[in-house]
């Protein structure tokens, strides 16, 4: 059906055997993808006798690459009613706020470094420290002690009359 033809090139030399075809967005008529038939008409066949489908080639023209599958995270967000990118800004705002608070605190402490006295806190903390003495076997004093394994002591219980 010639009515469905939306592109016809000018007459070109057949001897070249090639035609550079550039795909335009308006050919899609607002759709993402369309199926089209590519055909080549020789000058020996008039327009009204030419059958586009006789040796036509079915091809797809598309706007771009398509991503088919959604991730689990996307599906979970859609289930939660978040369809747009607001979650993205919410997710970004939390670490940003923490970062700003940390930077602010650093500058606050830096500016007040000469105006604070935490010696009592430091003293209390030092007094809490304990000396780590390590394991018993690593002590120099007890290193040469032959600490034998435990063996069960022999038992000499006499069997009473009921047991025998």
């Amino acid at each position: 059906d010639m009515r469905a033809t939306f592109f016809s090139s000018e007459w070109i030399r057949n001897v070249d055997g090639l035609y550079p075809l550039e795909i335009y967005e308006e050919w899609l008529n607002g759709k993402y993808e369309r199926k089209v038939v590519l055909s080549v008409q020789p000058s020996t066949i008039p327009d009204d006798e030419f059958n586009h489908l006789e040796h036509g080639l079915l091809i797809n023209i598309a706007l771009g690459s398509r991503v088919f599958k959604k991730t689990k995270e996307q599906l979970a967000l859609e289930d939660a009613g978040i369809m747009d990118d607001t979650w993205y800004y919410v997710a970004l705002s939390i670490p940003t706020a923490v970062l700003i608070a940390c930077v602010g605190m650093y500058f606050f402490l830096y500016l007040n470094r000469h105006n604070r006295d935490i010696s009592d806190v430091r003293r209390f903390a030092l007094s809490k420290r304990r000396r780590v003495i390590g394991k018993f076997k690593d002590m120099k004093k007890y290193k040469n002690i032959n600490n034998r394994r435990y063996d069960e002591l022999p038992s000499y219980n006499k069997k009473n009359s009921k047991q025998s």
């Binding site: 592109f7 080549v40 020996t44 023209i61 706007l63």
Partner: protein
Amino acid sequence: IRNVIEPKPKTTSSEEIRPWMRTIYSTVKEVVTPTVIAGVTFSRKPLATPDPLEPWVSLNKEGLPKTIKPKIKNGRTENASPTYSTYFKTVSTKTFDYEELQAHNMDPNDVYEEEVFEDEDKTYVSLNPIIRCTPDRYLNKGLAKNVPSEPFCTPRENSELKVGKTYFVTWYTNFFRSELTDETAEKVRIHLSYVREKSHEKGFGKR
């Protein structure tokens, strides 16, 4: 410490597309203007000394160009520029009788017929660096993939051509040769037509 980078002199685009003069059919002079389409230069001036390892342009199944550089490995040329067998030659039958041949195993009344292949006119064909379409490069199409894609070599059936890109549609030129007159169509034109898809073709089939 970094090595000194010495940039190589670049050939400018103006050098690439400079027209050149050639003589065709022994007397006719012609000015040829090279053109660049989708990164492929057509009608480039041939080298003064022909290079057997000159790059040529292949096409993938969608029709996008890809430059192939031949190389010599173990004394053999790999990825050499394509040859087209007898696809673009004209066949004629020449008849010889006994008197002409004087073959010792031929009867005096016998006639010997030989097919003679005549090369095509390469005046304009030689300016095309892209691989040409021949029937041995047809790709099968259809549901059972049992129908040859004649006269097209590229693009392949059901391939996806994306907006903004340039694809090379190639066909076998001798496909349009008339059996009666043995002449090939001089001009062709390309058509693109919408097709109405059935529901099952769109993916809305019955469950």
